[in-house]
Symmetry: C3
Subunit: 259 residues, 3 copies
């Protein structure tokens, strides 16, 4: 199985990744995880990967294309960690999941090696080439398809000892905003306190601690540890991002209220 | 086959449902019906389900997660009706389709029973637990995967005699707005009249009756019975929702014009 | 394999196409290419098809539903061109891809013929009928499923000698805007010049020529030939469509700057 995370949003670019994968590995099942509306945020991509990869069957190959540096000299990676494989740019987006699983092997993808192996397999009209703007199509998708077919990482590029790091647990900032406006923070524990003061650029907010949205009346703020293990602020049947005036990357200060 | 309707919009939550399903039932085909931008609207979810389920092969399992009450005491259901199966919260979202098919059996899903059956099958790293905010992942997706694998409903929870009702044919209100801005109403028949007066909070509009968009010039309003059998108002190559100033839940009055 | 391009955006309409396809051709794999937020633009649909079809395995059937004339007298087509099949309305949306491949055969789809062949195969509760507003469900999806199952085009309708043409290489206008705000133009070559003057209704812009986004600093405009072979204007980590104030269909004049 091959699973996709990109910041392509609603475009045909993800469809083209699937086309290339199926042209190389016809039996691969391709699952969309998210094609985010957020753009260029390695943190958001890393959060989505970390929140979802562990629910997939062992052996799944994840393609993560959040790649503002496409065409520049950033490295392209394929990584084996735990029982999973990860393919994407070396900008930290893969790091939190790879760290949780434990890095086994990593290689810097070589277009020459990948395309030499992929071209004879391809059942499409077009042939691989390395464009300057679409390495998802030209490099990451073919590499994932080859890994799915059993190609060992060593065949795809030279070994890499370390990959670029990225932390989702530093400071207290917004790392993800979902479609409901729920705001996930770079915090994994919330000390005991029934009420919190939340400080953003927009103002200061009193927020009740709860376990779920409906622990507060509709329209009210609530803070809890979400289903992925991160501290999250929501508004019951409303948007916390709009209420708090925050977006991905913004700083959010939390202070427990005196009882 | 398992088909998904949620109000998750463009997030990874639907991808995680697919991951859990494939971890339990590797041979299941999972089809996205809609991950709506509308949030918390059981009516919209019920309309989407009613409009689409009958086109799927008999035996399909539908997972419908429109669940503002997640984590509260609302019941979680699995239902067999006609030749289809339906899984979702007991807030009425399943009702119109279940009623059309004829209820055969319903159970209140028990996390203990579902997880006891699902855990030995799971090929993922993570194990099921019952979070407070993501029952789609923790309960509905595993139940659907088990039903797909042939588990009888009785193994998943205690029988339920009645499920919460919801009508899509009451009053004259907006039950769905599609991406074009076409406005579906809670009406299934449109009496004969060549022209209608449509009254919303925004104003009073003259609307010609037609059979399709192009029966009126671009930019003009038209009213017809849509392909799902509901009365719908559209603007040819434009947005009726914007023109009429309406959204899901709003009241819309219709009066035939004198000839 | 069957691949879908529509302007249905985020609705259940694409899910219903998949349902109908799977009810007729259970073994078909259905891949979403794009369900565009752009509406009624045959140019955008044609661009998406031309940019993506060649990456799919030979034999793929493409269903392209960008159909502002649904219910009117426009013809419905099934076309064999090169090693691919194309199904959609005869409004030009299929033309650039068909032209690139070379037209082999085309037929005007007949609902009577398609439904007579499809109905005995269908495993769904509902039966085909020809609505006035949803030919994707009623005609295009069943035709694609039948072609996938090996039905010859001649069985689906009468032969057509010519199909409606559409050019993606005429003038200098916007034919596609992606989710990043990158602006693709109806031009396939960009003469040598290091800097360009770009003139839109919004104003006059100096744009550096590059090969990729990161050839200019964040926030700056860059012009290059994109991965699909069209001239494109982007802003590194920003939106060129917003900066230039353009949308699909707008005219954009380009002039090389004096060195």
């Amino acid at each position: 199985m091959i699973a996709l995370i990109t910041d392509y949003g609603n475009t045909h670019y993800a469809g083209v990744l699937k086309a290339v994968i199926k042209s190389i590995a016809p039996s691969a099942e391709v699952i969309d995880i998210e094609h985010g509306s957020w753009s260029f945020s390695a943190e958001a991509g890393a959060y989505v990967l970390l929140s979802s990869y562990g629910w997939f069957p062992r052996g799944t190959v994840f393609v993560v294309v959040v790649d503002p540096g496409v065409g520049s000299r950033r490295r392209a990676l394929a990584v084996e960690a735990g029982d999973y494989f990860f393919v994407g740019p070396d900008n930290g987006v893969l790091y939190p999941a790879v760290k949780e699983e434990g890095l086994k092997r990593a290689v810097e993808l070589s277009f020459e090696k990948v395309s030499a192996l992929a071209k004879p397999l391809m059942k499409s009209k077009r042939e691989l080439f390395l464009s300057h703007t679409f390495h998802g199509r030209d490099l990451f998708a073919p590499a994932a398809a080859l890994i799915h077919e059993g190609t060992s990482l060593e065949m795809l590029g030279d070994p890499v000892q370390e990959i670029t790091t990225l932390s989702l647990e530093e400071g207290s900032k917004v790392i993800y905003v979902d479609k409901f406006g729920n705001v996930a923070l770079s915090l994994r524990t919330l000390p005991h306190a029934d009420e919190w003061r939340v400080i953003t650029e927009e103002g200061i907010f009193r927020v009740k601690r709860g376990r779920t949205f409906s622990d507060v009346p509709p329209g009210k703020l609530v803070i809890y540890v979400n289903s992925a293990g991160f501290v999250e602020i929501a508004v019951n049947q409303g948007s916390a991002a709009r209420t708090l005036g925050v977006k991905i990357g913004d700083h959010v200060a939390l202070e427990p209220m005196q009882p």
